[in-house]
């Protein structure tokens, strides 16, 4: 266990009432191939201390390379914060754990020769670029190892080693003034998991290149998606982002309490709605689960030293809970935080972040979801936007198919749908049984912006009478 005692001692001697110290070492390897040529092959390493203190009920945080100096700066900042405090910040209790946790890894992604990885992605590029109308292709993979030590003045001593990796491919076809993109296994860098290189191997990126390229070309030629109110079936990676934007973010209690009001906004899920608000139909149950194996939001302990756990956010359609921190849990009258505080790196103050926010599976097969439907099936996110209380949203997808009398028919391009969050989830009358835990490495939040890796379990689902097209 790395000794962070001097940081704690320096802060307490300077007057801090509470202090926690994180020492973080990051290692990242990133390979991106554009067309058939490597675009970026990067190895990144960084490390440092992040010290958080409470002084007379006010926060201070400092990041740097020298432990004691950084701790003293944090106290100075907290003393400044105390000049503009209204009430003293109080933290909900936590058991001071002394423990260690790490991602189970079968094949160390950093031990696989970089030549092998580049060759795989270049080979992908060759297949992706084969059709004449594919003008751009992307193939990439990324691995990150984050080793961190956490010590608090309450006695916690925690060491964790988190490893995740993943990748994806995409083809962009351009013809006749139109441009269409198709990705695998999902958009925006692909899919990621808290596993070793065995996960990247399981994606079989090369085997999917031909289909992805052909679908990009087919989309350019495809007719536009019909518009109007109709039934839709969403593929699970699109639903993962839907859960992210319309359930994950609005259940972050810091947002709800107004801490993000000037930046990302607040939330329509205000505290009086807990246990009493119809968030969705009885088919909709959503949980936050930081214990899910392989999830990007999985860990042993959060960055406040709270043990990983499972919390129900929506229970059979009823809004039932928040993602909390020690500070916000106390404000809400909860005894304990449910452990969602994470910082992107040593130099960021932890914030409430999504862990694995999972839509629980139903019992419908894909064929049963389509049964009797006349509407549109949409897959793979292309664009997303939602208002600052997370009510009105609009999503665009890469690809769509008309559904006629329960059968997938014509491929259509530029599919999009728009709705208000409770009405949308209220229109969900079936969730599939083909459940998958997606990994999103790029959730943005906070000032300065922090990019976090989060997980979303989802299965395809059906929604009745949704506005398709931009309205």
């Amino acid at each position: 266990m790395k000794n962070l005692e001097k940081g704690l001692e320096a802060a307490l001697q300077e007057g801090a009432d509470y202090c926690d110290v994180r020492f973080v070492i990051n290692r990242v390897e990133e390979i991106r191939v554009r067309g058939e040529s490597p675009e970026k092959v990067l190895s990144k390493m960084n490390q440092g201390y992040g010290v958080r203190v409470l002084y007379r009920g006010a926060w201070g945080f400092a990041a740097g390379q020298h432990l004691e100096e950084t701790a003293l700066k944090a106290v100075k900042v907290a003393k400044a914060s105390a000049l503009a405090k209204k009430e003293e910040i109080v933290l909900a209790d936590v058991e001071p754990y002394n423990d260690s946790w790490e991602t189970p890894v079968k094949k160390d992604p950093f031990a696989v020769p970089v030549e092998e990885k580049i060759s795989l992605l270049v080979d992908c590029g060759k297949v992706l670029m084969e059709p004449e109308d594919v003008k751009v292709s992307q193939a990439g993979m990324r691995a990150q190892e984050q080793e961190k030590w956490f010590s608090s003045s309450e006695g916690a001593r925690i060491h964790q080693r988190i490893v995740y990796c993943g990748g994806g491919i995409a083809a962009i076809a351009i013809k006749g003034g139109d441009m269409q993109r198709r990705s695998y296994p999902s958009s925006f860098e692909g899919d990621f998991s808290q596993q070793g290189y065995e996960f990247i191997e399981s994606l079989n990126l090369y085997d999917h290149c031909q289909k992805v390229a052909e679908e990009a070309v087919a989309l350019v030629e495809a007719p536009p998606c019909p518009s109007g109110k109709m039934d839709i079936v969403l593929e699970s990676s699109q639903l993962a982002l839907q859960v992210h934007e319309s359930c994950g973010h609005p259940t972050e209690l810091d947002r709800v309490l107004g801490y993000e009001a000037s930046f990302a906004g607040t939330s329509f899920l205000t505290p009086e709605k807990v246990g009493a608000f119809a968030y969705g139909s009885p088919r909709v149950t959503i949980v936050a689960d930081s214990t899910a194996p392989g999830g990007l939001g999985t860990f042993g302990y959060d960055d406040e030293g709270v043990k990983a756990c499972k919390t129900t956010l929506v229970d059979k359609g009823v809004f039932s809970g928040y993602l909390t921190s020690r500070e916000t849990a106390f404000q809400l009258g909860e005894e304990k935080s449910n452990g969602t505080m994470r910082a992107t790196d040593f130099n960021f103050m932890p914030l409430i972040r999504m862990t694995n926010i999972n839509l629980m599976p139903g019992d419908f097969t894909f064929e049963e979801l389509l049964e009797g439907v006349n509407g549109v099936y949409m897959e793979t996110n292309r664009s997303w936007s939602i208002d600052d209380r997370r009510v009105n949203f609009q999503f665009g997808c890469e690809s769509g198919y008309t559904i006629e009398n329960g059968e997938l028919k014509q491929m259509v391009k530029n599919p999009s749908y728009t709705a208000l969050t409770p009405e949308f989830w209220g229109a969900c009358d079936a969730v599939g049984n083909d459940w998958y835990l997606w990994g999103l490495p790029n959730c943005g939040k906070g000032e300065p912006p922090q990019t976090m890796f989060v997980g979303h379990g989802a299965a395809p689902a059906r929604f009745r009478g949704i506005q398709v097209g931009v309205g």
Binding site: S37, K85, V136, G265, D388, N392, V470
Partner: protein, 446 residues
């Protein structure tokens, strides 16, 4: 210190055995104070530096980064970059790192801004909260940051560049009943932020939009205030103004330079030396900045280049390389949209019926080639009738082709707002616009 930074980069040059080598150092020492519910909820200071080494063997390139600057770590990062390069495949279109070039002088460092202490930021935040609450505002939130940044680039062909600048920003959001307001500013000199005036403006917005009413989605004339236009211009630049998108056929300008894309009142240029924005005298490859006219009187003139994409066309870099987490080729980093002659009040006065938008929220591209974006209005959306603001409106969703909006510009303000994206080290200065047709496609509940 300049000498310390350059000595680290020199050490990289000496250690590297590659055919060509580039060292880039970026550092920041700053403090950010966030406030919400009328108290400080996040107050941070950070000191960090990052050294990036790019090495070239023939046409094989490797890149490595570290934030440890001791001699052992500097040697290790060079070795790591070279190991990658040796394992690489050739990048056939690569020609060379940039040659030495002229780098302009830019004033971007203000000693007092570099030395702002946490207590000063906290005092200003407290004064802001008191000011707003005195106006009847219920909740005040925002962020105030100050600090300094330094960046240096050196390469084995003789490029050597160093810049030290200061950064600052103040943003305040105010809320009362169902009304919200916002105001923000960015400057290299924190004394030019005018925090008190921003607070006053934010309060006025919130109080004026107190009783919001619904309006049906549809096509309306709009007055887009500066913050909204900055966001729209930023997306247009990201999708259209870079050489990578242009060469790949992903830019609306691809193969169409010289064509008219917008109203004659619309011009864009990038100028890394212009101190009205966030000047930096050179790009991530150490190429000196210059003014580049991208669109003049509505006509597309050029796109911006880094050395890789410039060499593909046999051109020289325009000094627009970006060291972004996701490679996106070159892009504007100090972008300006031309001002007009009208005041904002003139623009409103000339609008018979329309909607005034203070800012956008969560905007994202729907179709990049067609420059279609969607997003929400936020923090002050108002109905204009007979040239006057008559009431606050509930927020609306828009889905709009940017170039079509710029083709329908009826008036341009004589003012600039500014938005800076710290993580991209890029800023946009833009005026307010009167746009004849703007497509609102949905509405929300507040």
């Amino acid at each position: 210190m300049k000498e310390d930074v350059l000595s680290i980069l020199e050490k990289v040059m000496k250690l590297s055995k590659a055919d060509q080598c580039e060292a880039h150092l970026s550092g920041r020492s700053w403090g950010l104070t966030r406030f919400a519910n009328s108290y400080i909820h996040q107050n941070v200071v950070e000191e960090n530096q990052e050294l990036t080494v790019r090495v070239v063997f023939g046409k094989k390139i490797g890149k490595a980064k570290t934030n440890q600057l001791n001699p052992e770590s500097v040697g290790e990062v060079v070795e790591r970059a070279e190991k990658i390069a040796r394992a690489q495949k050739e990048i056939l279109d690569f020609v060379s790192l940039p040659e030495p070039n002229s780098i302009p002088e830019v004033k971007g460092f203000f000693k007092e801004t570099a030395e702002v202490q946490p207590e000063e930021r906290a005092s200003l935040v407290k004064a802001t909260i008191d000011h707003a609450e005195g106006k009847g505002i219920e909740t005040v939130s925002g962020a105030y940051y100050t600090g300094k940044e330094e960046v240096a680039v050196m390469n084995s062909l003789g490029v050597e560049a160093y810049f030290e600048g200061t950064i600052s920003s103040f943003k305040v959001n105010t809320a009362v009943e169902e009304g919200t307001g916002t105001a923000q500013n960015f400057s290299r000199n924190h004394k030019q932020l005018n925090c008190e005036a921003l607070t006053e403006k934010s309060c006025e917005k919130a109080l004026a939009s107190k009783k919001t009413e619904k309006v049906l989605p549809g096509v309306y004339p709009v007055i887009l205030e500066e913050l909204a236009v900055c966001e729209m211009a930023g997306y247009l630049a990201f999708m259209t103004f870079g050489a990578q998108a242009y060469q790949e056929g992903r830019s609306a300008f691809s193969g169409r330079l010289g064509e008219k894309f917008a109203d004659e009142k619309v011009s864009f240029w990038d100028d890394g030396t212009n101190e009205k924005g966030f000047p930096v005298p050179f790009d991530a490859e150490g190429v000196g900045k210059q003014k580049v006219d991208i669109m003049v009187d509505g006509v597309a003139k050029t796109v911006v280049y880094d050395s890789f994409y410039a060499h593909k066309e046999g051109k020289k870099s325009t000094g627009h390389a970006i060291d972004a987490p996701i490679p996106m080729g070159a892009g504007p980093t100090n972008l300006f949209m031309g001002k007009g002659t009208h005041t904002l009040e003139d623009l409103i006065g000339n609008c018979e019926k329309g909607i005034l938008v203070t800012r956008f929220h969560y905007t994202n591209p729907m179709h990049r080639l067609k420059t279609v974006i969607t997003g929400m209005t936020r923090d002050g959306t108002f109905l204009i009738e007979n040239g006057e603001i008559v009431k606050g409106l509930k927020n609306l969703r828009f889905t709009q082709n940017i170039l079509e909006a710029l083709s329908a510009v009826k008036g341009v303000s004589n003012t600039w707002g500014i938005v800076r994206m710290e993580y991209m080290k890029a800023s946009v200065c833009a005026p307010a616009l009167h746009v004849g047709n703007f497509n609102f496609t949905g509405a929300t509940s507040f």
